[in-house]
Amino acid sequence: MTTQTTSQAPTTHGTPVTFDHVNKRFGRTRVLHDICLEVPGGQTTCVVGPSGSGKSTLLRCTNRLEEPDEGRVLLGDTDVTDRSADIDAVRARIGMVFQTFNLFPYRTALDNITLALRRVRKLPADEAAERARTHLASVGLAGLEHRRPGQLSGGQQQRVAIARALAMEPEVMLFDEATSALDPELVKGVLSIMRDLAGQGMTMIVVTHEMRFAQEAAGQVVFLDHGRLIEKAAPDKFFGAPESPRLQAFLSAVT
């Protein structure tokens, strides 16, 4: 009974993301081949694949940091790829966490978070600071509000970056190899925050090499290779009974 409610609850809310025949080229190299993918609301979709397979590009098409050449990306009912859409408003609904943290170096942890709260969400200064403090505390960084990125460890910086994204109260979170640049001992802390977030029913697209995380937290796992979506399955099937030979080879190489 209880398991049923927890597995059903997330799908009933949360904004889904739809990739509809998405194509992307960089010059003459075709990076995304006709990608069709439903990312259900309130679930975590993990994207795995070899380096250069187009995982980042796919993720970046979600908030139009890259523009697809063809096809559409939908955030709920909103067409992200529509040129006439207010892209800044769309982006404010999507949180993104990068491999290299990308914090603003001359701002404190607090100011990294308040910037968009004030400029985009138009919160007054005290309210923005209050919300930033709450989110820093929730990623275990209470008391470090006034540190600059350079005065924080990689793991702490990445947690600030997560707090910065979450403070905007996004409908969807994107993670692009969020733990790949971290020292091994710092990976755990970041992954556990991501796991909690997944448990709370946030829609997430997570590009990762952490197969255990994918196995435990994902609702579905997607395999990209050479810009093509090769396989998509629930984690048990994806890792337990992969169908395509390429995925089998990939999995045996990484595990």
Binding site: L65, D88, R91, F104, P105, Y106, R147, P149, R164
Partner: protein, 264 residues
Amino acid sequence: MFEGLQRVWETFFNLDLIGQTLPTLLRVGLPNTLLLAVLASVIGVVVGVVIAAGLMSSKVAVRLPCRMYVDVLRGLPHILTVYLVGQGLPLAGITLFGESTYGYAALAIGLLEGAYMAEIFRAGFQSVEKGQTEAARGLGLSHLETLRFVVFPTGARRVLPPLTGQFILVIKGTALVYLLGLTAGQREMFAIAQDTAIVNASLSPLVAAGLLFLAITVPLTYAVNAWERRLRDGRKDAPTGSATDSATDSATDMDRALAHQGTG
């Protein structure tokens, strides 16, 4: 032997002559040198920012002339540009500053410095990591907000030390306006020293001027070097005390200042 030394000493270090020249150097020369350097730098910064923006433009028709400006002015001997602008403009009937040699002098050096400063601005602002811009745009900030709140604060910090270094070069560069023939009250340090040196057949006044130049440029150079070192290393081993944090945290101050400008 002794007489030979005496002669060397008299040529360069005639204390009487140095003593005579110093008051004029300090009263007239120093203020003129600094004023010229500041005027030229202001012109240089304005020209530099405009040209740098052009250099970063995606339009070839904008980028190309700006690139040419930089290449030509950095490629010519400074003395040639100073002559061409400082003497050329009034001769050609472009009398922007009337009879004031001072104005043409400042303009000549300013245009020259603009080329160097353009490269400083371009390098500084292009050094701001793409990831910062992407993070800002990803959060929903507009292109202009991203420039103003993310690229500018980082770029400005990276540009300030080399810009100050360039200012030191401008201070030295003011000596070139001697060529344009300034009236007595307009003379900067080198002009005063050189005039006095010719009259007295001794180079001691030039030594006096040189010492004054060094008194300005050497401390400034060391200050800039220390500043750049701090900016480079500061990230890794900056103190973690909260006192230093708030003292050095001017990102928000800058925001406030800019916000005030923005809202009038």
